[in-house]
Symmetry: D2
Subunit: 136 residues, 4 copies
Amino acid sequence: MSSTVKDMLATYPADLGDIDQGKLTRCIEECIACAQACTACADACLSEGMVSDLTKCIRTTMDCADICTATAAVLSRHTGYDANITRAILKACVTACKACGDECASHADMHEHCRVCAEACRSCEQACNELLAALG
Amino acid sequence: MSSTVKDMLATYPADLGDIDQGKLTRCIEECIACAQACTACADACLSEGMVSDLTKCIRTTMDCADICTATAAVLSRHTGYDANITRAILKACVTACKACGDECASHADMHEHCRVCAEACRSCEQACNELLAALG
Amino acid sequence: MSSTVKDMLATYPADLGDIDQGKLTRCIEECIACAQACTACADACLSEGMVSDLTKCIRTTMDCADICTATAAVLSRHTGYDANITRAILKACVTACKACGDECASHADMHEHCRVCAEACRSCEQACNELLAALG
Amino acid sequence: MSSTVKDMLATYPADLGDIDQGKLTRCIEECIACAQACTACADACLSEGMVSDLTKCIRTTMDCADICTATAAVLSRHTGYDANITRAILKACVTACKACGDECASHADMHEHCRVCAEACRSCEQACNELLAALG
């Protein structure tokens, strides 16, 4: 999986500018991994007996999945690059991953899927912040 | 179409807080209309003889479509509301719609689909800004 | 809203072939309306006191939203048309809308949002079937 | 990346039935890898000097990305499982990956990104077919 993101970046036919390709690759990988983990966590929460205690968690994971999916798509495009759009969606992704990581972490002792999902959110949040810092 | 967004909001079973429901309804409608217009405009640009002059336009409309789709989904959820996520994705949507509206407007004299798409972007940008202002 | 779908189709710069433009327009509109209704219904179910009775409904509405969104995007593109892809995603959309309409209809007496969503699913299912029939 | 899909499946709190978890994990991973590769390939095609020769390729990769993303989401949910929806979206994904793999393969000698993307499509098509066969 990770090699495909890297291979697609390596075969881009035009100039990528001075972007940090390692940080970009990692950020795309984290966004798509986080989106999948959040979709799966929302569903796992639905199958818990105490689903009524997890409604905020389900909602937040769904938002985070949608925003991570959009972020991965924007970051996968380089033609006609607009730094303003990249920064804005990265900031939204950081906000969603922070909120979702906090929410899932609060259920991590009770639910293993929330623990795994919280880790994915933390990792994605960090990758987005590092890419944002590298963009200047 | 517009009545379904309004009807779903009207039948939400819990407290919606003091959000401006008219502005929320309009913003969701504009986001999904803009996403569709942008997807269609990217494709229409592909069928122009001068597609090589429209590559930045195609890229920007694809970003705008992805971000508008995510924004519409986030705005369609009210359970466990997190104002930080709503504000962050609305800001990203404003940025994308501004960039896409500008780009499409620059081709509007040549391409009717860019003119229609630019209007959809302007309208969505305005609806997002009005909802942001109403959120405080 | 509906006028944007129609306007984008009307300004497509190349030959649309012999597709029924009225049926295509309606199908795109129904898909995006159904996707939004399903996203909103999943969230409304989460806020019901009896959410544990609605977990299958929430799951099915999320699937239906994802499939309707993909279908609307595919139908909004005309360049390099491939009837096999169009037919396959329309069939998947019919299947999802039928399942989701049935599930939501079974809760319609208890929950108004399920009633509205079931209508959106039925209407989308019908529009997809009519477009499929027109494609031959 | 691959471990997150597997870990989320392993922590699902309810019965997964007799589904082949290895094939399911691989299929989800292939769908999200293919979606990213297709989004990146559409963008790489836009930056080729001969973009006018690649318009069908760009369109098909965009369709394939949208359908793969929807398929990954549906496959990531297990609550209230409906085999009809799973089969229908898998069949649509096979159709899209076959068409996109063929189209990209026809440009693989000229464009490295099309070669990488064609491989991602072939691999995803195979994983979807294997999961379909396992579902019975």
